[in-house]
């Protein structure tokens, strides 16, 4: 195994040489045709036509308490019902990301709609009918369903993806002394990832070997979680997920149905299939926490920030330590000597909270970037000018150098392309009929990281390469970019590269999450390819540096040999691994972007419609312009949804999620999306990875919503600090 530890910046590589000229090209997705023709099998579509049973979850109808008994007699009387799995070992919800296993119910009810039993029957319809006949008796307790009521009992958590608190200097003192002060509190709602493909699993036993087809973003830890829940060794599990219909964080931890499907399949002696209903996805997997965020900024009259604080209160259910890291960007986005970022978690008896696309930035930048817009106005500064004044030249938290940061270039390029100078001077200044027009902008950042990842490559005598890794493609383009990286490094035509992913028997890949997938898994492929080149060079008896690889040929001096023939008919194998190293400590790494938005606000009804949205971003080397931009368009749409409509509503009396379907949980539809534009600046980050890349999938969402709501203010004068910014709140806040 050839392992690269990211301790030093990377120098010039074959990706810079671009001999094959394929890296970065906007290629169509490798599996696109399969998906649009319905021939890419998703988890639930395996074992078609075989003798299988179907499972259906039974969910609790109270929010907090204990299950005292479960009466399955009526359900068992239905013809075709095979079994009802009940007892202590029922997952409460999805497993926490990267955890060893689910929190189990053990007879308790921790949230309304918690799994309490699992019905297995000959058909899906029978299982569903029987599930309605399972009657549970409860000992109900008073639940805590509202973050604002529990805020006073919130505590520090050490189970987050960042430290609870980051401090520098004495914020309170500096804020008190500041010439200009800003102090406002924002509330952001709970959200659901709402991936198109619901959580689904097929489980099949052969003796003591278990095959699981399931929709999971992280194969290695998902396999661990199932092993723990089922009570077997990981080596007994073959986990397969070649295609995933969206995850957005909700499939980082395995869904509650996977363990139950495996237990049930054992019990009934045949494979069990289960797909959650849409309602169950909302009720029984995971969600983004609602948040209360207080922003305080102190600055000079000229606009230089001297003190900045972002204090956050988040929710999670009993025993779960994750917190939405809403202050993550505030740590480093703007200058200021005295700084304070805190997170406190309050326990509530509502579905566990976990990572949803851009955890932290998605909601934290709504507050911070609205605050920056408000403060700029208070100072009489253009919002871009205010940000430029406070652009730090090193990480303001600990003085580490930025590995790369093109935020100023994003502002400038964005302002020019968008026509920022035409921004209406003040609310109400531009009107088209009933529509008030406004411009807004916001900055975005997304902390960058790589995680350990491994891949194998195999070169056969016909000159074809196969890449193998348990890495996943959750619809982001992983298959395609991995083949582009290998094709560029090895000088192969792209159609000679195959990729196998999403299988626990393949080398352990990073999986998809935290915008680390492309950079981590791609680096492992790069490292494996470098090893393969070393093998080829050795066989040709040349120095690897002197070997040119292009169009399937190895060229050294005056020799030109088809790459597959170098091993004399043998197949060559190489392995590569990447690990984060010292560059993660001695540089500060993040991707950056600037968003520019034009909205129309209906002066009568308060309806806000985004007319155009421009994102200019710099995220290191772009591996495929098309898939990268597609990620950004998706992020922009998520940003619009977060600003204007997404809101997972919990009934404060019972803890019930009220709008648990796609008709009432609103995400943007096509008619909400007009003109989206994404510009990716040329950037290489030699500290980020051997590929000189950084994460992009979540950056594109970070800050978008604030650009939308800042534009709404510019259009009509409504500042709303309680998200989403629905028309009723806009009407109430309109000043024109």
């Amino acid at each position: 195994m050839n392992t690269h530890v990211m301790d030093k910046p990377v120098g010039r590589t074959r990706l810079d040489d671009r001999t094959q000229d394929i890296i970065g090209k906007p290629l169509d997705r490798y599996e696109g045709a399969l998906k649009v023709t319905g021939t890419a099998p998703y988890s639930h579509e395996h074992l078609q036509g075989e003798d299988v049973a179907y499972g259906f979850l039974v969910l609790s109808s109270i929010g907090k308490g204990k299950v005292t008994s479960i009466d399955t007699s009526a359900a068992m009387e239905i013809e075709g019902v095979l079994s009802v799995v009940e007892g202590d070992n029922i997952p409460r919800a999805s497993a926490e990301p990267m955890s060893d296993g689910h929190k189990m119910a053990n007879g308790g009810v921790f949230h309304y709609g918690q799994p309490i039993a699992f019905v297995v029957a000959k058909t899906f319809e029978i299982a569903r009918q029987a599930a309605h006949l399972v009657k549970a008796a409860y000992e109900e307790e008073e639940g805590r369903f509202k973050l604002s009521d529990e805020k006073g009992r919130a505590r520090i958590s050490d189970g987050g993806v960042m430290e609870s608190d980051t401090k520098r200097g004495d914020f309170e003192k500096a804020f008190e002394k500041a010439e200009v002060q800003y102090d406002e509190t924002f509330t952001t709602p709970s959200q659901s990832a709402s991936a198109m493909e619901p959580h689904a699993t097929v489980a099949k036993w052969d003796g003591d070997q278990l095959t699981i087809w399931s929709s999971g973003q992280l194969v290695s830890s998902n396999t661990t979680q199932i092993a723990t829940g089922v009570g077997i060794e990981e080596s007994q599990i073959h986990f397969i997920c070649p295609y995933i219909g969206g995850g957005f964080g909700s499939k980082l931890g395995i869904g509650p149905e996977a363990v139950l499907a495996a237990l049930a399949a054992k019990k009934v002696g045949k494979p069990v299939k289960v797909a959650l209903t849409r309602q169950q996805v909302y009720q029984a997997t995971s969600r983004r926490s609602e948040a209360i965020q207080r922003i305080r900024i102190g600055c000079t009259k000229e606009g230089r920030i001297t003190a900045i604080a972002h204090e956050n209160w988040l929710a999670n259910s009993e025993g779960n330590d994750f917190f939405e890291p809403a202050g993550v960007s505030t740590v480093f986005l703007y200058a200021g000597e005295d700084r304070l970022v805190t997170h406190r978690v309050a326990q509530t008896d509502v579905l566990m909270t976990s990572a949803v696309r851009a955890p932290g930035e998605a909601v934290g930048l709504l507050a911070l970037e609205n605050a920056m817009d408000e403060l700029a106005e208070k100072l009489g500064l253009d919002p871009i000018e205010f940000r430029k004044i406070n652009e730090p030249d090193k990480n303001p938290q600990d003085d580490t150098p930025f590995s790369s940061r093109k935020l100023l270039e994003c502002y400038e390029e964005g302002a020019k392309r968008f026509g920022w100078t035409d921004r209406p001077e003040k609310p109400g200044a531009r009107r088209e009929g009933d529509w008030l027009i406004g411009y807004g902008m916001a900055a975005g950042s997304r902390k960058n990281m790589i995680v350990p990842s491994s891949a194998d490559v195999e070169l056969t005598a016909d000159g074809r390469l196969t890449i193998r890794s348990s890495m996943t493609d959750i619809g982001t383009g992983t298959y395609t970019i991995l083949s582009q990286i290998a094709a560029e490094v090895l000088g192969l035509p792209i159609d000679r590269v195959d990729v196998e992913l999403g299988d626990s028997r393949l080398p352990s890949g990073s999986g998809s999450g935290g915008s680390f997938g492309a950079n981590s898994a791609g680096s492992s492929v790069y490292v494996a390819c470098e090893d393969l080149i070393a093998q080829l060079a050795k066989r040709l008896d040349v120095d690897p540096e002197s070997l040119t690889l292009k169009d399937g040929f190895a060229i050294a001096g005056n020799r030109q040999v088809p790459i597959g023939e170098i091993a004399g008919g043998q197949t060559l194998l190489a392995s590569g691994s990447i690990k984060p190293g010292e560059t993660a400590e001695n540089t500060h790494q993040a991707s950056y972007g600037a968003h520019f938005c034009e909205v129309g606000v209906n002066a009568v009804t308060g309806e806000a419609r985004v007319r155009r949205l421009l994102t200019v971003a710099a995220a290191g080397r772009i591996f495929n312009e098309k898939t990268a931009k597609s990620q950004c368009y998706g992020g922009q749409i998520w940003g619009i949804g977060g600003a204007l409509m997404e809101d997972l509503v919990v009934d404060a009396r019972s803890g019930m999620i009220v709008n648990h379907n796609l008709a009432e949980y609103h995400v943007p539809v096509n008619a909400d999306i007009q003109n989206l534009e994404v510009v990716l600046l040329d950037e290489h980050d030699p500290y980020g990875s051997p590929l000189a890349g950084k994460g992009i999938g979540e950056l594109a969402l970070a800050g978008v919503g604030a650009a939308v709501t800042n534009a709404i203010y510019n259009a009509c004068g409504a500042r709303v600090r309680d998200y989403p910014m629905t028309l009723d709140k806009i009407i109430a806040g309109m000043t024109v």
């Binding site: 709008n659 008709a663 629905t726 028309l727």
Partner: protein, 329 residues
């Protein structure tokens, strides 16, 4: 979903007989009923599939109006050139509803009879007097953003979600039915629909086995016709407030004003007092404000939906300005 008996009758008489028991339901497009059956909000023992009954024609009537078969799809109806030309408020209301796919499946009769979108109605473990009489109303004191401000009761504050029915109410449409005994009758929409009162489970005046066969539109009334739908996203969202308006002016005064409202009540809402107040008067913001005062004199918010009261006022004034060509005064 519970097992059910499934019948495909050849004629309306047979359909009525088959559906004459309380636990039977007609099914046409199924865009609402099937969802509700999966959730066991609806648990019919028999489905009587009426798709074989014809009822797909749009015919001109002797009175100069249109007779729309109950099985004409929302998509076909919105595309009919006579509807587009003579009843534009209806075409616009249809196109403001659902999505293209749903409109291709949903029928005229089914659209009139769709159930509320109240979240408590849709969740079988929640209290709901409409789904389970006597269990209480979850929406009162709960999440009620989309709920009624007019005509609600202490037992139910649900709204009727149709756009089409709002336009039809403004157009004085007549619903034609056949009962299970073969007799026929006609109902206005005011007669078809009921307010929730203490029996919110009874949403219409139809008897068991009574089948809507057609909706008749009187001769075109002309004037300026507007359908204004206010919602939380640009498409595929139910109305928070909608207004169907058909307004005609003569000599600078309002000659006719037909106004129906969606998203406000258990049924498409119409208030004669509002229309009477407008007729014979010259358009002005003051007049429109009075119309809103009259409409909303008994309006009551439930918390989350309090905003509907000012929103209806604003929207009504804007619609009347547009319909009368008057500018802000």
């Amino acid at each position: 979903m519970r097992p059910f008996d499934y019948q495909r009758p050849a004629g309306a008489d047979e359909a009525g007989r088959l559906a004459a028991e309380p636990a039977a339901r007609f099914i046409a497009g199924g865009t609402n009923l099937l969802d509700l059956m999966k959730l066991e909000v609806e648990t019919p023992e028999r489905l009587v599939d009426i798709n074989g009954l014809g009822l797909r024609d749009i015919e001109e009537t002797d009175e100069g109006g249109l007779r729309i078969g109950a099985l004409v799809t929302n998509g076909d109806l919105s595309a009919d050139h006579r509807v587009r030309h003579d009843y534009p408020v209806l075409a616009r209301a249809l196109l403001a509803g659902a999505s293209g796919q749903l409109r291709n499946k949903a029928t005229t009769g089914g659209n009139l009879l769709q159930r509320t979108r109240c979240g408590y109605f849709y969740e079988p473990t929640a209290p709901c007097n409409k789904r389970e009489p006597g269990s209480g109303c979850g929406a009162i004191g709960g999440y009620n953003r989309i709920h009624a401000i007019l005509g609600a009761s202490e037992h139910c504050i649900a709204t009727h979600p149709s756009d089409m029915a709002v336009a039809m109410r403004a157009l004085d449409a007549i619903v034609e039915t056949v009962k299970s005994d073969g007799s026929t009758r006609e109902l206005t929409l005011a007669e078809l629909y009921r307010l929730p009162g203490d029996t919110p489970e009874k949403e219409t005046d139809l008897e068991a086995g009574e089948l809507i066969t057609a909706v008749r539109l009187p001769a075109p009334i002309g004037g300026t016709q507007i359908y204004r739908k206010v919602r939380d996203r640009a498409s595929y969202a139910f109305a928070l407030v909608s207004i169907a308006a058909a307004v005609r002016l003569a000599d600078g005064k309002i000659e006719t004003a037909r106004l129906a409202f969606g998203g406000l009540a258990h049924m498409p809402w119409r208030d004669e007092a509002v229309e009477n107040l407008l007729v014979g008067e010259a358009p002005s913001d003051a007049l429109f404000g009075k119309a809103a005062d009259t409409l909303l004199s008994d309006a009551k918010g439930q918390g989350d939906n309090d905003f509907k009261i000012p929103l209806v006022r604003r929207t009504l004034v804007a619609v009347l300005r547009e319909a009368t060509g008057s500018t802000q005064q």
